[in-house]
Symmetry: C2
Subunit: 213 residues, 2 copies
DNA sequence: TAGAAAATCCCTGAAAAGGGTGATTTTGTG
DNA sequence: CACAAAATCACCCTTTTCAGGGATTTTCTA
């Protein structure tokens, strides 16, 4: 562990960026060596001298998940901490696969932030108790219900897209030049694949997984 | 205008709260007189000595819109500035109806934040150029297409909530202890209010407007 | 307190969606 | 090529949704 830690901040909200900087500037053992408001810019500015990258998850263009992957590819020794608004197991899962070193919630206190920075720059990973709990819950769920990413076929996605557009089965059939029976088949297959009970479930799935457009 | 402005911060994200505090503490003409992580707490802590309240929009229990209304009711002379992630005309509209004095985006810079604080404590309102533009665009839209914010009643929202939960009309009727006819009425009224063609449209509206839970 | 808005209930009939089952043809990949 | 997955179509039958009326009671609010 070095005496003064070199931190790089990445967040698309300037105000949060400035706030974090001001907060961390009060800490003697920490130096802010740079800031960026998006992943692309950060990738250009970060070099191997950086100790810890603090990043937001939801960013335009390159999101936190992708950004973490890229930065780890370029500089495997840099420690990365994600700061997220939501305690979301899916996101965390993807980040862990990308070898993230820490995950903090935005409602964490200053002390926790500092502890996280210290921990990861010592070469350990830092995840708050709250985050660990949600993650383990999600692992437990996965083991018991072998749901695992339901895959919709290309055609099914097309049909789903038209359902989202509020078209009826008949209209979808006409639009895709297939019979109503076929559309109904696709619809029924999707219902069973997704474990949905009706159209509402299909639409929810589509919107939650950004398959809308 | 007083020499040192008394600022109160409200945000459910501790980290943002701490960051803002640190940021504003560097400014000589500003004193942070208090912080709260939700509207309820803030309402208890704020007194008439406060000059400016800086608040987040998305907060649990009492959201920023409601909080602003309440604080203005209690202390009409306190100046309020909302800090929001999104440049959303609908939210802004509601805030303006609640006599908010300023609206900033989270990607605003420190200087803009300070300017906003100065402006509102001088008794003027502050809205960034970006925000003003979106708001005017939305006014323009409203004049041409008389869509006007479709308002769903309390009961309609309840029914919609159950539709999102994939319940059928019959099940909703049983759950809410009303007749199927009534549920159908609510459903039909929502379809026409929202200009939706079917369930898919209702679900889309609900999810897009975060009425889900 | 009068009027509006919301919530409640009812009816009919048509269209759409959903459940079950089965079969053929296309397409893609090892 | 062989096998699997995807896409296609079909039939039956039930339930749900949607469209169109109309009506009464409750609640809110100017």
């Amino acid at each position: 562990m070095k005496n003064t830690k070199k931190i790089f901040l990445v967040d698309d909200h300037q105000m949060f960026l400035d706030g974090l900087e001001s907060l961390l500037n009060d800490v003697k053992t920490i130096t802010i060596v740079g800031k960026a408001s998006n992943g692309k810019e950060a990738l250009e500015l970060i070099d191997k001298s950086v100790d810890v990258v603090l990043m937001d998850i939801s960013m335009p263009e390159i999101d936190g998940i992708e950004f973490n992957r890229l930065i780890k590819l370029k500089y495997p020794d840099i420690n990365t901490i994600a700061i997220s608004m939501h305690n979301d197991a899916k996101i965390l899962d993807k980040l862990i696969r990308g070898n993230i070193n820490g995950y903090l919630l935005k409602n964490a206190e200053k002390n926790e932030l500092l502890e996280a920075i210290n921990t990861v720059s010592d070469g350990d990973n830092y995840f708050s108790e709250e985050v660990k709990r949600t993650y383990q819950d999600s692992l437990f769920k996965r083991e018991n219900t072998q749901d695992q990413a339901p895959q919709l076929s290309k055609r099914e996605l097309e049909v789903l897209g038209e359902i989202i557009n509020e078209l009826t089965t008949k209209e979808i059939a006409e639009k895709l030049f297939i019979s109503q029976h076929t559309v109904e088949s696709h619809r029924k297959n999707m219902l069973s694949k997704l474990g949905a009970r009706n159209t509402a479930g299909l639409v929810k799935y589509a919107l939650e997984n950004r398959l809308s457009n």
